[in-house]
Symmetry: C2
Subunit: 412 residues, 2 copies
């Protein structure tokens, strides 16, 4: 039987560095505006025109020359010839000459010559004229061309994970097709003779395949295209064949179950046989998830995930999600992540040199948020199901006291 | 020209209450396990069996009867007959009788009779026997059936927005098909003669259609099925026809652009013509987004969104996203939302009775997070593009001072 006594694990920081170097950014593709949100912008969006593209009225009112109405008062209104009316969506057919005004709706194109809009409440139409009762300064109630976003300015940076509201800028600048990174392709496979498909009746001694679906859902939520590549029996030839087929089509292969179970440690050997450059690391000094194994075969990253579901899900969140986001072109750190500050509800002891991830539930007590570490350890699925997020205990911290301030990364 | 002087807006709280009553929960459907994450669970998941379903070894070692090895020491080990070896994924073919042991791998099914597992490091095989050097208490290194999740316990509540990690429970209990609420169907339409499709060359006086795409992306991110139903000209008959067609297929119709532009206020009339029960409210005492209009025609909610993109996006986040999530079956408040506590970087003055939404950028200065209100007002798209989230200024608060503590709801 093999155990992990002989493995020298890398530190969590070393693993992050190795993964940082290993993940290459995928190529780009064009998508329609309707499908752009949630994708990663592949080219910076620079304003190719002014926005707004023409001077617009911010009010319903009258387009005037400010100089004409400088002396207007309620007692002595200025009368201007009403020479027309701006139609929304059209360029005005005629300018506003001195002594003239044109009616204009909100959003209407300011006529040439006009430099301000008098609100409808401060004017009164009298036949072919309009009386203005108050002066306006030049520029008043007008949105200048380029006032919102001037031509040439950078609107959205490349590497941005496009939010729904970012789509407004793509639409406003006429990007009906949007350059984005394609979704990284991820294969998920489970291995082990004891693993049974969820749809099958459960035979004694078997356990249902959890990781293929949980890791698949995590990868999808990280913006990836997911291939469910099935359950592979504990046989080196079958495993090699399955990993080879997955590696041929995917950027990352997540294989779970084979990297720590006694007597079935084929994963590392199979990964080696897939060719150079080979092993990046086997084992990380973390809890849970120590037996994690990462290798590279040509352009494809091969990951041996822990077999225990809770460990596999935690390792995904801590190491694989950032890797996949980076491979997908996203500039990490550009966005405020979802986290909460809380106080730790129970003391915790770790080991020096080991980075630990506590699954915690958040509870509010007397106006303070507390993070309660969940019972059951990594063998318990109930543990991760009840968790709102993770608290990372750094490698150089060995004890956390009850009441200590911690940061909780919320699960997505 | 129409203005909104005559409208009595409802308060933000009244609008929330009216929407709470108006939104009915959509029906359910079955989806495959691969597509369950991000959907809303329609029935509580109750454990129909113990998890694990059988007593499992937590170690590589030997299954024994604890009573047999109670006297074992390194100096005087207890010798047990090695009567077999448990194969992973199979029910053991024979029990462990007194004086016997069986080899067992991690995850193996504990044989009948055995009640503990001795770690491989504390035993030594000698021919057909194994010597045990230390006692173990009953239950040691064994995960009991149901220890993680006992049969009959509630695993996931109905109304839960399924996280990727929740999929682990669905798989573990064999739900290859999962009962979820169907996605609410949302139609988005833009109206206005000045509105131009993003793909077309921009003519003078026209503006590109932003809301149809931004609101569509927001609705998709709220879990909805989105129908892009185009740009409708400012004509009551055309608008009625388009809204009728959208209402026939969708649960919610989001129409933007027609609810505040001077001279083109057809939306309210068209909504009325679609039949009872009719108007819920026209105008909310908020900034931005005051002219928002909500009506009901039979089972369909008709929403007149503000025409200004920033206002439309803010109104969506504050009022429409919670509505759609509730209609989609989600139990709101069950999940910790993404927010940050910050200090307001510049003072702000509001009006009594009006709820305001500041678009803010978060910046870190000397270890503190500051929320900077963005310039430009709701007419500026740059405003919402640069924002990390919203600060709500309640109706009963009129002034916020520089440095005041605020909560920022992060944009998704």
């Amino acid at each position: 039987m093999t155990t992990h006594v002989g493995l020298r694990p890398v530190s969590a920081d070393e693993a992050r560095e190795l993964l940082e170097e290993a993940g290459t950014v995928v190529e780009t593709e064009m998508v329609g505006l309707e499908g752009a949100a949630g994708r990663v912008l592949a080219e910076s969006l620079v304003a190719h025109e002014d926005m707004p593209s023409f001077p617009r009225s911010a009010m319903d009112g009258y387009a005037v020359r400010a100089a004409d109405v400088a002396a207007a008062t309620a007692a002595a209104p200025v009368s201007l010839s009403l020479v027309g009316s701006v139609t929304i969506g059209r360029r005005p057919g005629q300018p506003v000459w001195p002594g003239e005004a044109q009616a204009i709706p909100t959003g209407g194109h300011l006529p040439d010559g006009a430099d301000a809009v008098v609100m409808v409440e401060q004017a009164e139409e009298r036949g072919a004229a309009v009386e203005i009762r108050r002066p306006v300064e030049a520029g008043r109630n007008v949105i200048r061309a380029g006032e919102d976003i001037p031509r040439g300015s950078k609107v959205l940076p490349s590497g941005r994970l496009l939010r729904p509201s970012d789509v407004s800028a793509l639409a406003a600048f006429g990007l009906a097709r949007v350059p984005v990174h394609r979704r990284p392709r991820v294969s998920v496979l489970s291995t082990g003779n004891e693993i049974s498909p969820p749809a099958d009746p459960l035979q004694p001694g078997k356990v249902r395949d959890v990781n293929q679906y949980a890791l698949g859902a995590q990868a999808a939520s990280a913006g990836c295209e997911v291939h469910h590549d099935g359950i592979i029996e504990d046989d080196p030839a079958a495993l090699e064949w399955a990993v080879r087929a997955a590696a041929a089509k995917s950027d990352v292969v997540l294989l779970s179950g084979g990297s720590s179970v006694g007597g079935h440690d084929y994963t590392s050997d199979v990964f080696k046989r897939l060719g150079p450059p080979g092993l990046l690391f086997h084992g990380i000094a973390v809890r849970p998830g120590r037996p994690t194994l990462v290798s590279r075969a040509g352009p494809t990253l091969l990951v041996g995930m822990p077999g225990v579901p809770t460990s596999a899900m935690v390792i995904f969140e801590v190491f694989i999600r950032p890797l996949l986001r980076r491979m997908g072109g996203e500039k990490i750190g550009a966005r405020w992540s979802a986290e909460r500050h809380a106080r730790l509800a129970t003391a915790y002891t770790s080991e020096i040199g080991r980075e630990d991830y506590l699954r915690v539930r958040l509870v509010e007590r007397e106006g303070e948020i507390w993070a309660e570490p969940l019972p059951g350890g990594s063998a318990a699925l109930s543990n991760v199901l009840a968790a709102d997020g993770l608290v990372t205990v750094p490698a150089d911290v060995t004890t956390l006291a009850e009441g200590d301030a911690v940061t909780v990364s919320l699960f997505t």
